[in-house]
Each structure stands twice: as C-alpha cells, then as structure tokens.
Assembly symmetry: C2
Homo-oligomer: 277 residues x 2
C-alpha cells in the first residue's frame, strides 16, 4: 500500500460523543499521525457496548487503536473494560477526584453534557435561534433595540455565523447592523443605533482576508476589490473609534473564538455562563 | 446568609475554554452542589496565568474552589501549578498517555479544539450556515435538491435549529420541508420531494409537547390545539411510513442529540466526522 497506514481511533460515549470527539481530537492534533476515526455515540447498554468491543478488537488486528471514552454509566463502563490499544478515559479521573474530594458518589447519569439538562434554558436557546434567524440583516432599528448584542461591521466579516453561534450555544439574542456606503459617507452612525451603546460590538477583518472572502462570492467586482475592502475596513474602524465601540478582527478567528470574546464583553452571564438580559 | 454557600468553580484554558466548561459541567452535574462558576479563556501567557492564580487564591479564602484546566502551553501550565482547591486537569492524563504510547512529545499548541484548525473545513462550515439561512422554510424544490439533508416535519418540531446546528458544526447543507395541510390532504409527498429519498429525514414530536410549544407561540389557536397536533403528528408518521423515510421524535432530545442521530443516518462522513457530499 502506498497510502500511509491510518491508526484507528474510536470515540465512545453514552451521550452524543461530542465531548469525546472534541477533546480527543484536540489531544490528537498535538501529535503527528494519520487516523481513521469512528464515532460511537449513545452506547447506552451492554449489548451496544459488546458490539463496540468487537469492532475495536477487529480494528486492533491490523493496527493498535486509540480509544477515547466519555461513559458515565457503570454497566457500560464495565462492559468496555479491557479494550485493546491505547485507552484514554476522559471522565474517570475527574469523577474519582470529585468523589473523593466532595465525599459523594457520582450519580453517573449519562448524556448530561449535550442533552436537555434544563428545559427552560434549552427553550431560551431555541428562542434565541429564532430571533437571530428572523432578524438577520436588514432589520428595523426597533428590532435592534430588543437585542442583547448588535454586531456591527462591513459585509462578510462574520456577523451572521457569529450571531447564530451565540444564539444556539448561549441563548444570546443577537442581531446585525451591516455598515453600508451611507454610514461611511455620513461618518457617524444613526442616532437610534448609537443609543444602543453597550450592546454594540464591531467585527472587522484584514483588507486582504476580506478581499479573498468577497472574491469567492463575487469575483472581479468593485465590492470585492482590495481597494474597496481597504476603504471599508478603515472607515469602519474610524466609526468604532468615534463612537467608542469595541471591535475584533475576525480574520484568523473561529466563530467559537469570536463568540468567547463577545461573551466576555457582555459579561452579564449567570453562573452557568448563560446570558442574563 | 440564607442563600446556600456557593462553591467557586474555575474553568481555565489557553483556548476558548469551551471544552473545559462542557466537560467540567458534565462532571459537576453528577454531584449535588451549588456553584459560582467563572470562566477564564485565552490564558495565553504567564502574566494572565498569575492574574488567574490570584483570583483562585482570593476565592479560596471563603470556600474551597474546584478548578478545571484545559491548558496545553507548558509555561502557562507551570504558572498554574500549586493552585489551591480541587484541581482537575482535563488534558494532562490523555497527553501523557499518548506521549508514552506514541513515543512522541506533544507539540502543546494551544486552542486546537475550537480554533480554525483547517481553513478549508472552516470555510465549508460557514458556507453551510449561509445555505441553511438562505434556504430556511418556503424554499423551492430545486433548492432542496442541492441539500445534503432535507428535514421534513410539521411546524415546530425542531427543523430550523437542527439545520443551523448541522451547518455550524458539521458543514452539512441542511434545508427544511415543512409539512402543510396540502401534504396531509394528499396523503403523499410531492414526487419531486420523493426523488430525494436518502436525503429526507423526518422530525416529529409528541402531540402533547407540540401542543405546549405551539401554545407559547399562538395561544388558543386551532394551530396549537391538542387535536390539531395529534392529527398532524399521526398524519406525518403515516407519510414517513408510506415513503420509507426515517424519523425521530424530538420531544425530549436536544439539537445536539438530534444532530448526532442524523449524522449517523447520513453516514457519509470523512474520518474527521465532516460530511462528504
């Protein structure tokens, strides 16, 4: 075979497996290697566990597997004992440390990380998704006033996906105010927008990055030209400075990173890191 | 004080802290307690680390803190050594196990979990968000044909937030086909939709749950009546059975759980669990 041998990697969970996969992948990126990754979510009973055990054994005949586990259920954990390969249990160390320090036995309920742990919180998140969807771009200033945060910036600097992420994950009612030629010409923001100071947050990009992103969308347009991107970015920064609006360059940042910064800006979070209006 | 004493909990990371918070919270829900949670993302140098150390020490004067760490950077880890309280390092055990098993030293690059690890993958995710936004509800059948998955179901069964989640996290181009009276009356789906078999996935709810959700939106309407909800859910299930469309009851499931099930249905994922069209 000319292809490099790929080492099998298993993510096994009695929940969605999202934590196992996220943390497991994060650990794997710290090393050089080629992997064949397989995700086994919702392993909720010993029948399912036995099936996974057979899969890992079959894979182990060819190459030593790496196994990441986030399993709370005692019976499932027991059924998975003695798996071949490099087995990394991502929850057991923490559970045992907490059990001993708190003098309590863990309840071992599965799926607490990404299930509906709290119905009210979950409903708020879903309501925020709807809010973000209904009020994406071109909304009235009245609607902006109902928002927890209003993302302001030139087109294609990440306003929309960031709004969605903030809504889906944190229940933040986010809306957008796209900066257009009329704002750049006026060199001030509309008064009704300025009144929302404290909920306004700016997003910019590097001119080069914006040029690239816009070119993918509308090649050879004035809109995508490096000159236009340079103009819009520097005009946006002048507006933010004039109105004391904090802003972030999104060129090299993921929506997770951008959202984390904005949550810090809002800093009206409850102890579950959920936004408190 | 009549309020229960809240134990301080710190989530400390040199990335977004999303993994620390998700896994840490998941562990905490296995125990009984009241917590005052604080998140310290982007702790990227020893100056920031020293600041956090002081915060933890201050908190420890009143109540023993619990500290969850996801820090890759060696200098930052070193600066955080000897923190008071119950310190749970969520990455070190995995890193050391892999270092020893793979015979490699971890690169200890920070922020690999929720940063832009791969620019192309990230662009695909953002493009999918736009696709989901542009094609949410009421889209033409032509557009449905461009989708990786078409979520079919009565109004308010979770189609829209699930589409957004699949797009944001997995780059899946998801769109919706809302089931309306004309579909229920016809007792068959339009032929152009049936041709998309294999990308169609049904979402339903329990009549009681749907009644509750719709009542919040339009109280005392026919739309929200239990009778109407019963009718739509059973008519939807008959349609799914007639056309051999798999479906899921979303009443007690989070969008993370629903999405995990749908990813399993699509099972055209690459080894990074990204959708391959």
């Amino acid at each position: 075979m000319s292809e490099p041998q790929r080492r099998p990697v298993f993510f096994i969970s009695d929940g969605t497996g999202i934590t196992a996969e996220t943390l497991g992948n994060s650990l794997l990126t710290q090393f050089v290697g080629h992997y064949d990754k397989r995700r086994y979510p919702f392993v909720l009973d010993t029948t399912e566990a036995d099936h996974v055990v057979r899969e890992v054994h079959t894979a182990a005949e060819h190459s030593e597997p790496i196994v990441f586990l986030t399993v709370m259920d005692r019976n499932v954990r027991h059924a998975l004992e003695g798996l071949p390969g490099i087995v990394i249990d991502l929850v057991n160390h923490g559970l045992e440390t907490l059990e001993s320090a708190l003098g309590q036995t863990a309840t071992r309920r599965y799926g607490q990380a990404h299930g509906i742990a709290d119905a009210e919180t979950y409903r708020d998140r879903m309501a925020a998704v709807e809010f973000a969807l209904e009020h994406d771009d071109g909304q009235s200033l009245r609607v902006l006033g109902l928002s927890d945060v209003v993302l302001v910036g030139p087109s294609r600097c990440g306003k929309t996906p960031t709004s969605m992420y903030l809504a889906i994950h944190h229940g933040v009612r986010a809306s957008n105010y796209p900066l257009l030629d009329e704002d750049f010409d006026a060199q001030v923001l509309p008064e009704s927008l300025r009144e929302l100071h404290g909920t306004l947050y700016g997003l910019v990009s590097s001119p080069q990055h914006l040029h690239q992103v816009r070119t993918e969308r509308r090649p050879h347009s004035t809109y995508a030209s490096l000159e236009q991107c340079r103009f819009e970015i520097s005009a946006a920064k002048r507006l933010f400075a004039a109105h004391d609006i904090p802003y972030l360059d999104t060129s090299t940042r993921s929506i997770e990173e951008i959202s984390t910064v904005i949550l810090g800006f809002l800093h009206r979070l409850n102890s579950d890191n959920r936004f408190v209006p």
